[in-house]
């Protein structure tokens, strides 16, 4: 009898302790929640050290850093603008590609998203090139690296001659697709050209084998379409402003010149300025549109 009571007492004490432990957690959340604004620290800065520590599990470690890079990019994208954004993207991708020297997709992600300026990325095409060149050293016959290096030079560094050279080198590698050679030619002749850009991005879009690459290409194609739209709309505005009467889209619609308020490929209406210029709404996700200038 006494033993049973004793046990019951212990059981109640255990339950009470459990409740208090859980409540303390809740209290902590209220009073002193863990800080979320602190930039996560990368404990292992040296990729060589990481490679040594991972021993037989380097591939898995590379995957872990890859996933951290993906998550980091995603969360930075959504976070409000702050200095030092995307700070870990390059180190994480660098660790990943050192641990797995053949992890080409990681370098290729870097090519697209490291090069891009704010808000889409840190604007570091030099880091992108570093990753790609490292990949090329380990896999010299992989044409995708040459393609991506050429692309960085073309799209972000505006170095059309170098871009064409890389495309050309890539086209000579085994299994290289035929359009790479075409791209070399196009870059050389129509480097600063929107049509050339459309051709390049279109190739990337149709041949992309990963989701995010395809989406990135699609995004660019939409931007190019918006540029085309703006040119076309500018011409229409110039021709029809007299008939419309006012420099407002509604006037043009009422005048039957346009069927509806023109929107960009993502559905945001274009802006019609007082001087008759058509621009993209800065609120549109397609903002800022790429510019084309004569090649360096």
């Amino acid at each position: 009898m006494r033993a049973a009571i004793h046990d019951r007492g212990i059981a109640w004490a255990v339950a009470a302790l459990l409740v208090s432990a859980v409540s303390l957690q809740a209290v902590r959340e209220q009073v002193a929640p863990p800080r979320t604004d602190v930039v996560p620290v990368l404990w292992l800065q040296s990729s060589e050290a990481a490679r040594r520590l991972a021993l037989s599990f380097t591939d898995l470690a590379a995957d872990v850093y890859w996933m951290r890079a993906v998550v980091h990019y995603g969360s930075e994208r959504r976070a409000p603008a702050a200095p030092g954004r995307y700070a870990l993207l390059y180190p994480l991708l660098d660790l990943s590609t050192t641990l797995d020297p053949h992890f080409d997709v990681a370098a290729r992600l870097g090519a697209i998203f490291l090069s891009e300026g704010y808000p889409g990325g840190p604007g570091r095409p030099d880091q992108a090139l570093a990753l790609l060149e490292k990949g090329l050293k380990n896999d010299p016959t992989r044409w995708q690296y040459r393609h991506d290096i050429g692309f960085v030079h073309y799209w972000w560094l505006k170095d059309y001659a170098e871009a064409a050279r890389q495309f050309e080198l890539g086209s000579r590698l085994p299994d290289a697709p035929k359009w790479l050679r075409t791209m070399a030619a196009v870059t050389l002749t129509k480097g600063g050209d929107r049509a050339g850009a459309r051709q390049l991005w279109n190739e990337l879009y149709t041949t992309a084998d990963v989701d995010w690459l395809r989406q990135a290409a699609e995004f660019r194609l939409r931007q190019l379409a918006a540029l085309d739209d703006i040119d076309a709309l500018a011409a229409i505005v110039a021709r029809g402003r007299a008939r419309a009467g006012a420099l407002q889209w509604s006037a043009f619609v009422r005048a039957g010149i346009l069927p509806a308020v023109p929107t960009d490929p993502l559905g945001t209406p274009y802006l019609l300025a007082a001087d008759g210029t058509v621009t993209l709404d800065p609120a549109s996700p397609l903002h800022p549109l790429p510019t084309f200038e004569a090649g360096k």
């Binding site: 037989s56 995957d63 053949h102």
Partner: protein, 270 residues
Amino acid sequence: MSLSAVRKVAVAVFKESVRDRVPYSLVIFAVILMGASFLMSKLTAGQDFKVIKDLGLATMNAMGLLIAIFIGTGLVSKEVEKRSIYAVLAKPLTRASFVVGKFAGLVLTLAVNLGMMTAAFYLMLQYMNLTTDDWIKQGWRAPAHDPRLLVAIALIGVQLTLTTAVALFFSTFSSPMLSMLLTLAVWVAGHFSGDLRNFQTAVDSPAAAAIARALYYVLPNLDPLDVKNEVVHGLPIAWTSVGIGVASIAAYVGVLVGGAVLVFNRRDFK
């Protein structure tokens, strides 16, 4: 030493493991893979096949390593400690047959374990394969249920055989805890061999570099047997290097098992 005695002891070891351990490790493996695949697709940005393959191979490697070290170091020492060895050694089998039989039994256990994990692995890959769009597959450097994965797994098996031999050897004369640490140390050193070889670039002392170089030649080199990266990325396997690696590991296994037999033959079981 008679092969039939070795076989009988090996089968006994295998049966013991079937009763105790094989089902658990398989369940853990399956749970890890399935759990990982659920969590993954959001995080891998299209790399889920690479990650699943890496994870599957790494898990097989890790679990096999745990089995080899923990069970390997207890193979002989547990029997000696518990004194169950007295009755067995009074039977018509040599001490050598006993030791080799124990070793063979654990290797057999590991092989069956790996086999079952491989089957689960391929099933998982096939399931993922069926739920993936074709346009994604065109960019793959290696197919989903790549038969070359079997090569990587077989070589993991070879590494585990060596680890078992190391564990067995140490356990014939040292305590289980020390044996585990030493076995782990040899496994780690086996993967550091590249660094040992190039030690002179890291330190200034030529004496240290010479020692490191000597260690590199003496210790088993596990790096050539690691083809996981090549298989997952569809790269060619350096068959010559692998062949030499396997032959050298086989030699080490012979040395270690032979050494274990020698030590065991001379021991007094008080």
